[in-house]
Amino acid sequence: MYQKPNPKQLEVSTFGPGRGESIVVHLGDDKWLIVDSCRDRKTKKPAALNYLKSLGVNIKKDVLLIITTHWHDDHILGLSDCVRECEGARFCCSAAYQKEDFIEMIQGYSADRIVKGGTGASEMSQVFDVLAERGDAAVGGQADKLLLNQTIGGNDCKVWALSPSDEQMLDFYAAIAEIKLKIGSNRQRAPSNSPNHSCVVILIEAGEQSILLGADHEETTSDGTGWTAILDSPVRSKTKSSIYKIAHHGSENAHVDRVWEEMLVEYPNAVLTPFSSSSLPRDEMVGKILKKTDKAYSTALVRDVKTNVKRGNAVERQMKAFTENNVRAESNTGHVRMRNMANNDANKWETELFSGACHLDKL
C-alpha cells in the first residue's frame, strides 16, 4: 500500500484517530523525524512506527529526532515505544521538563499504574527511564533553538523550536505547582492544563520548503507568551511555510490571523487532527480555516461516530438509556500525507488521504 518517498522528496504525514496526533517527516535520503505519538486504534501500536515499518525504514538508525511537543495524553501515547525502538534518534521535549518539579510530578501521576490505558505522565516517565538507562541526552526545546542542522540529500535541513518562551516556562512551573499531588490528596489522572504553556512549536526548513507544526500552541493575553511571542521574536527565521499543521486541533484560541499572514504562504496546505473530547474543530472554525485555504484536511471525520462495538441486546439497551444513546467509538487512525520535492515550487505539494482522512469541508 505505501511506498517510500523519493530520496529527494520531503514528506509530512499526519496521523490522528479522532483523539490523538502524530507526525512523521521525511527530510530526504530516508532520514526521518517523529513529532508526537498516538496509538493506532486497531493495532494499539504507535501510528508513527507502524507507518515507518510498513515503508521498510530502518528505524534504529534512520530516525534522527523524536520530538514530543508536550506531555498531554493525546500527543504522547506510545512515545516510550518510539524512543525505545528508534535507538539512534535524539529525543527532544520542552526545556521546561528539565525542572525537578515536573519530573517529580510525573513520577507521582504514573506511580503504580493505577489506571488502565496509559497516561501522558506514565509515558513521559517511561521515556525518561529509557534515556537514563541508555545514558542518552535529551534536547530541551525552547524558543529559537536549533534542534537539527544537517545537510540531507544535498539540502540544508534545519529544525527549529519556536517555543516555549522564558515567560511561558515560568507560567508552566506555576501550573505544575498547582497540580502536583499533595500528601493526603486522592490520586487521579493528571488534569490537563490550558492554555498549554510548555508546548514546542516546530519549524522545519529543508531545501526550498518550510513546514510549520503548530502543536497545541494557543494565543494568550500575557506579554511574552502565546503565538505573539513567536511572531515578535527578532531571531525567528522569516521564511513562510507552505505546510501548516494547524495548532490545537483548530480551536478558536489557537487561531491567529497574524500566523496565517506572516508565517505562512498564501493558501498553504493545512492539516489538523480533530479532538473529539472537546468537539474540535467547531463548525465556525472550520469555516474560518477554509477561508484561509481550501487545501485543508482532517485526519478523521469525528462527527458523532456511534460505537460499532457489538454487545448483547440487553447491554446495548442499558447503554443507550444511561447515556442517551451517545456512546461513541474512536475513529480509525486517519492519515494525511503530503509530498513535494525539496527544491520544487511551494505550491506543488501532493496530498493523499488514507483510512478515513478527509477534506476539512467534510466536517
Binding site: R19, R41, K42, R90, A95, Q98, E100, I103, E104, Q107, G108, A111, D112, I114, V115, K116, G117, F128, L131, A132, G135, D136, A137, A138, V139, G140, L181, K182, I183, G184, S185, N186, R187, Q188, R189, A190, P191, S192, S276, S277, S278, T307, V309, R311, G312, A314, V315, R317, Q318, M319, A321, F322, T323, E324, N326, V327, R328, A329, E330
Partner: protein, 195 residues
C-alpha cells in the same frame, strides 16, 4: 448482628466513603449482607491485592479489618438462606472524566472496556450529573476515575438489569509515595543529561 461490629463494618466498607483496608470497595454494607458468595471473593481478592501492594501500613490495616469482617461472615451467611441476591456483571468500563460542562450539567468521559475476556477499543460518552451518586460527588472532578457497570441483579424473586457509575476511591497520596517519587526524580535529575 452486634451493632458496634456492624457500625465498624459499615465504616470500613464504604458507607462513609471509606474503603476496605485502604483499597477501594465496590459496594456497601447492604450489598455485603445481601450477597451470596461475592463478599468472600471480594475479601480474598482485595487481601491478595493488598499483599501485592508495596504498603506494609495498608496490609496491616487490612488484616485488622479482615478480622472484623470474618466475624460478620457467619452472620451474613446465616442471612443468605433467607435473602440471596448477587450481581452478574455483563459489561464493565473504567472511565475518566475528560471535561465537565456545568452549563449543561453533563460530563464527557473516555471509557476503557475492562470486561473480562474482552478487548474492545476505547469509547467516549457524555453522562448527566444525575448519574453521579451523592456519595461520589466529593470525588467528581476532571481526571476522576470511575467504573461503569452493567449487570443483572439476581434476587430470589427474579432478576433486573442495572447500570451503575461508581467513582473510584483512589488511594491517597502518602508520604511514602511522595518520598519514593522524590527519590526517583532526584535520580533522574542526576542521571539525565540535557543539551
Amino acid at each position: 448482628m452486634h451493632s458496634n461490629l456492624q457500625e465498624r463494618a459499615k465504616n470500613i466498607i464504604g458507607i462513609e466513603g471509606g474503603s476496605l483496608g485502604g483499597f477501594p470497595f465496590h459496594g456497601n454494607a447492604d450489598d455485603l449482607e445481601a450477597s451470596k458468595a461475592p463478599e468472600s471473593a471480594y475479601i480474598i481478592k482485595a487481601f491478595k491485592n493488598a499483599q501485592n501492594e508495596n504498603s506494609e501500613e495498608r496490609t496491616e490495616r487490612f488484616k485488622e479489618n479482615i478480622g472484623i469482617l470474618k466475624e460478620l461472615l457467619p452472620q451474613v451467611r446465616a442471612k443468605q438462606t433467607k435473602t440471596s441476591t448477587y450481581k452478574e456483571r455483563l459489561q464493565e468500563w473504567e472511565g475518566y472524566v475528560v471535561s465537565i460542562n456545568h452549563e449543561e450539567q453533563t460530563f464527557r468521559a473516555l471509557l476503557c472496556d475492562i470486561t473480562k475476556d474482552k478487548d474492545f477499543p476505547d469509547e467516549e460518552a457524555d453522562f448527566s450529573f444525575e448519574q453521579v451518586a451523592d456519595l461520589d460527588k466529593p470525588l467528581f472532578s476532571e481526571g476522576a476515575v470511575f467504573w461503569w457497570t452493567i449487570a443483572y441483579r439476581h434476587k430470589t424473586s427474579g432478576k433486573a438489569m442495572e447500570s451503575e457509575l461508581v467513582f473510584r476511591r483512589m488511594p491517597k497520596w502518602t508520604k511514602g509515595n511522595h518520598d519514593r517519587a522524590k527519590e526517583r526524580a532526584n535520580f533522574l535529575m542526576s542521571t539525565l543529561v540535557w543539551e
